[in-house]
Subunit: 462 residues, 2 copies
Amino acid sequence: MDTVTSALLTDLYELTMLEAAREAGTASRRCVFEVFTRSLPEGRRYGALAGTGRVLDAIAGFRFDDADLRYLRGAGVLTEETLEHLAEFRFAGDVHGYAEGELYFPNSPVLRIEGTFENAVLLETVVLSILNHDSGVASAGSRMITAARGRPCIEMGGRRVHEDAAIAAARAAYLVGFASTSNLAAGAHYRVPVAGTAAHAFTLLFDGEEEAFRSQLASQGAGTTVLVDTYDVEQAVRTAVELAGPELGAVRLDSGDLGEQAVQVRALLDSLGATGTRITATGDLDEHRVEELKDVPLDGYGIGTKLVTGGGHPAPGFVYKLVEREGADGTMQPVGKRSASKATLGAGKAAYRMRVGGRAHAELVLPGEEEVAEFERELTAELTSGTSHPDWARTSLRPLQQPLILGGELVETLRAPERVEAARIRHAESVAELGIAADDGPDGPVAIPTITDGTEAARLLG
Amino acid sequence: MDTVTSALLTDLYELTMLEAAREAGTASRRCVFEVFTRSLPEGRRYGALAGTGRVLDAIAGFRFDDADLRYLRGAGVLTEETLEHLAEFRFAGDVHGYAEGELYFPNSPVLRIEGTFENAVLLETVVLSILNHDSGVASAGSRMITAARGRPCIEMGGRRVHEDAAIAAARAAYLVGFASTSNLAAGAHYRVPVAGTAAHAFTLLFDGEEEAFRSQLASQGAGTTVLVDTYDVEQAVRTAVELAGPELGAVRLDSGDLGEQAVQVRALLDSLGATGTRITATGDLDEHRVEELKDVPLDGYGIGTKLVTGGGHPAPGFVYKLVEREGADGTMQPVGKRSASKATLGAGKAAYRMRVGGRAHAELVLPGEEEVAEFERELTAELTSGTSHPDWARTSLRPLQQPLILGGELVETLRAPERVEAARIRHAESVAELGIAADDGPDGPVAIPTITDGTEAARLLG
């Protein structure tokens, strides 16, 4: 396996734009880039932000090493002057962003990168790769966790995605509430708890199922999970309980009608006295299938393909847009492409989750602190008018953006595993704040509106 | 960026199964595992195999280093004896497989891994991760290339997928005929040609579009591609031609009605004398969109999200199944799970593409060389009977499997870039042999049947 510096995880045009801007004298203009997604996939109530921690690692490691420069020199598209400059490249700007694990909505500015053009433009590709991938998995996984209604879910999709993406997917899944992963590298790097059962190949290796189960139990103990659908499910369950006794940890069903089989297997286990033996289901599960199985006596789910490929929406569509830059006169100016909607045009934004009575009510994405201050004044006036709905008295604004990198230096210095644990807690709190119940079903309209100007925000109070 | 050994890109249960089998004395049983997919996604005529070269690299590097073993020891799920054994682990078996770039169909045995159980079972996760990911991208990309009818396609989806998956995706895309990639790491590692244009941020960085274009042209030369849809397309095209002259390389359209705009821009470029300036389109393209644009004066496509996420089918569903193993009596025995169809049950298979008149006619996947020899005898009898259709005289069987690793040693020792070039040629030949024309459209039934027993095969000749 080759090691790749994060600097080469980049589109060529970032470097040619840097070169052209340097030659034109505009590369040092101060710029503000924002990362956001214009909409959520159909049926999604919210998105789950994941990858921020990995973005911070990638930015910290973003430098062109000798091998990178040798390749770029050979490619012949950059001048020697540019290559020498790249050799010294370090990100020296500021990054603010939503906490990892936080929910996001259309136009939520989940990351803001400020620096010179040449400094900030180079990060585009790797920042988007990470946030799009990890948030795609997290957004799908969060729905599965809600549908599972507290029953533990194991991430086991590594074999369905790129081998390195598998590690990040396991991390993202844990972050939104998965109990564990089958992926050892995710265990090693992020301390995600690892779990596993056995494959059909194990049963088939032996001359009979009984011998396979006996060997597994002898090696792994009675608490192990045996796979019971290689030949005949009923016989397999009887054999396993006979061998392990009522201490048998769990049985796994991986094919057929999971609902029907789970009912039969539960009854059989109970009749054999194995009332504490759990039943785990696997096999093309997603949030919809888990929802369908909600009244079935299953104790946990192993979820693979649909989770790690983002549940049909592998890339949330995060973009990295220049929203503000220094002009020739030295002042900062909002910029935007002609076709961009008003919501995406303009200066760096301040974002707050407006809560009423502890419940998320709106995503306020206001163009700058002045509009926020104005809204807060209106909110105060509303509250003191005496005519407002009693709920408003419990209104608060939770700031969503926090400094992550200042002057090129990491503000938050958690180690990777701690960062994931913090994000896991943040995610659970943020979902709870939304007040969506499992019985509402996985699909629905976007849960809260994104309010992008002060007038609209004031109307909320009307 | 952490370096990960390929050995930890593995599901925990592979190791616990290994431990249990070792303790039971079955770990040294000789086993045959096959990799295949049971079906193709709806509407797909064929699959494109990619990743084989990366699999060979992963197997060659598959060993547990000290950090891996430290983690596993800390996880507390394996005995010290198993850990010591893993420290010495090297794959010592045989691998045969389809050439990378080759097409596959339902039940095509694209890879066969033979060795002891403990040797072969450990490779499951990383082999599937690589083949599922890379073939997912390649299978989608191959359709795009057909739809593009010879117009060059640039892979530019890196920002929509995991940062390392992006490299493999660029490699897979090139392998099926993409002309180039925006991804620098794919250029560095696999010598995929790199290409790029400019982003809206570049235009927005300057105080005016003219200044932006002038700077890009001064730095990159007249042959560059300018992005013309930041403000007003017509004005941008006029400005670019005014500045660059008719030598302007290309203009890029990234939004709006690409078909309508391309017609207008072509007319405008021609009227300005820039008859050689090309028009490149980008923006949520896939094979269907490219097909719709076939009569539009576009000269190339930049394709991103839909390509790198497998065109709606990110994972082809490759599985790694034990099909044959040594029994207690020392003989090899076919094995299979109860629910497995006949096609997937049984011993390691021999695979041939049957061709009639140079055209692919069927995928023969016969259980062993004897059935193949029998079929060849019947074929010869048919040909000499004098009553057969004249086409049969031009019937041939192309063997699809080749040795890749024998006794743990790599048979084919091409370097990574050469391997990709060879696969690119193989893929183009294999698609041509299928005889599907662009005008047939991207979607259709599976192109050729997979024949899994000799009787069925003989019926082909009837």
